[in-house]
Symmetry: C2
Subunit: 375 residues, 2 copies
């Protein structure tokens, strides 16, 4: 397969730094990908996204196929050009969001028939169609089409779902058109059951992918259970290929997963939280709408180099949130993405320096702290 490149840099325990090389550029790992669902990272210009240090963003196949349509994006030169993000893009397969967002689904061996949440129009998503759409979008990393196993699921349900996803993975692998710099990732399923995870990983390895994702987590099982699944799953994945934990997560989730050998992450948490007035800081999570901030001249996070922290007081950010001003969404989103990228930089530096244990301990202490005390 002439897909994306990946090389390992430093190693610290199970964790490693790496460099993912794609058609549209390089991504130092461990990496966090901001979510650009509808061809935009919400409330951010691409220049601002890049300024946070992000090198790769995620696009959602489900949203983009419905609006503006994958054929249209292709005609307009692909997703990079359309959204003015010249760097690498990973697209999901649409499988997860068909289940969580659309109505009147019918699922069979072929794929999923669903109604658009926008206009009720009917659509069919199959492994072959998902591959075609992700190619039209020109994704650097394409994800295999899978079913997201519901949680909780019995061993029988989880096995049935995982085996369908593995048959779909084989069809995805077959339908994907290899091009230099473009990769296809398989997704390990199997719920919380180690033997099912092992069966899934073995099947994917037999097919051969450019990278391996761990799917079906962060769906309600809790952090301890998620880490337990990673503990039994990651060692089954090839060391020389990137590993991607989908839809994760809180800073402590990311730290714990990096310590267990995960290289890539995506999550709506920093962007969505920013739009509701929640900020991640080195002093814990801050709800900027809280009245305690209304007279506070201090920055949100004195050690943060983002514009929200360098140029503005908590009092001003509080005012913007209360007044429901767009700039409030913009600045808190920017801050949260900057905070996440600082975390990833810190993780990469710590792995390189062989001090990941210390770094992880400090990072977890920050998340455990409460809202900032008043002056």
């Amino acid at each position: 397969m002439s897909g994306c490149g990946f090389s390992i840099g430093a190693v610290d325990g199970a964790a490693r730094t790496g460099l993912l090389v794609t058609a549209h550029g390089e991504v130092p790992t461990p990496a966090f990908m901001p979510v650009g669902t509808a061809a935009t990272v919400k409330a951010m210009t691409p220049e601002a996204v890049e300024a946070t240090g992000a090198r790769m963003v995620l696009g959602n196949t489900y949203h983009l196929m419905l609006r503006p349509g994958a054929e249209r994006v292709e005609r307009l030169g692909g997703l990079h050009r359309f959204m003015h993000w010249p760097g690498p893009i990973l697209t999901d397969s649409g499988g997860f969001q068909v289940m969580s967002l659309s109505k009147l689904r019918k699922m069979d061996e072929t794929g999923v028939t669903f109604q658009s949440h926008l206009d009720g129009s009917s659509h069919l998503l199959t492994p072959e169609r998902s591959m075609a759409i992700q190619r039209q979008l020109d994704a650097d990393i394409t994800m295999a089409f899978d079913e997201c196993t519901p949680f909780p699921a019995s061993p029988e349900q989880a096995a049935q779902s995982m085996r369908l996803s593995m048959r779909w993975a084989a069809r995805s692998r077959e339908a994907f058109v290899a091009r230099p710099g473009y990769g296809l990732f398989g997704i390990v399923q199997g719920g919380v059951y180690p033997e099912l995870r092992a069966e899934s990983a073995a099947q994917l390895l037999a097919l051969g992918f450019d990278g391996y994702a761990v799917g079906g987590l962060a769906v309600g099982e809790g952090q301890a259970e998620m880490f337990r699944v990673l503990d039994v799953t990651v060692p089954l994945l090839p060391a020389d290929r990137p590993r991607y934990l989908m839809g994760v997560g809180k800073p402590s989730d990311i730290v714990g997963a990096v310590c267990r050998g995960i290289d890539m992450f995506d999550c709506v948490l920093p962007t969505r939280s920013g739009r509701t007035g929640q900020a991640f800081t080195r002093h814990g999570t801050v709800n900027i709408r809280n009245a305690r901030h209304q007279d506070d001249p201090r920055p949100l996070d004195a050690l943060c180099g983002c514009p929200a922290c360098v140029h503005y007081s908590r009092a001003y950010l509080h005012h913007l949130a209360k007044a429901e001003e767009v700039l409030g969404l913009m600045l808190l989103t920017w801050h949260n993405l900057h905070y996440y990228q600082d975390l990833m930089r810190g993780l990469r530096d710590a792995i390189t320096a062989g001090r990941l244990g210390d770094f992880a301990r400090d990072a977890l202490a920050a998340e455990a702290a409460g809202d900032i005390e008043p002056l």
Copy 2:
């Protein structure tokens, strides 16, 4: 009065270029001030506002006194620091918005008692209180407190309203604390009646202000009537002081008013229009939500240097508007403000070159054009 400075550069007919010098910087005129109602130009960072070429923004006393409160802004270092806009700021007096936004008003010789549109709390705004608030905000240009005469108004109503505003102007003048670089502007009222405009101008000149605004226009009288009022009012104002047409307007309003000797403008039109998908362009006004744009790879305005035009297609801007993405508000607002500042740059250059007539003719033709034709 040790107020703001103003010097005339070139003159072309009644129009002139000038330089307004304030405590927080210089403003080449004719100038358009973006409106930053609640201590933010909606959907724009201050850096983006500055990048459009804007050198002065407007803040609204009514909004800021209610939220976050003028005393709070003062404690936090003034409006410039609070909103991270180091350049000049003009604040209105609150008079206009008390009448248009608040409930249960009681107006007498003293001032206006009103209920906040936010929480129903009761407030009194007087000339003295307006001056104190604008000083707390640290406005470079303070506006005298006046009543905005309703439209239509009989000669008797307009006379009564104007004379109250003139008594309030005298009280504003008395209460204003002069500081170097800080100016107080009087506001000519009198509705559409030339003799009342003349009486108002004479009274203001007798009091002596750093600049003179023309108020009570763009309230429904139409462009022709507005220009007629300017034709009889502007010649009554001192040539060596800046002239400010409040709340105006469309590009053609601005062009016509500059030709009649106006130096300063503010209006929510470019920002508010941008948030509803309306764009001002050299080809006329564009409604980007129109389906004709959905496949259009061309920029909004090929001659515009703003990020929305340099980096994105009409198809993408259409997509953002349909998907109600925050970036759509950001980019169209940026474009419209850039367009307005291009217009002001063009007007200043045309006056300097002695070719304002030609420039005005071309600018009016652009506004008269309809929505852009499809490819």
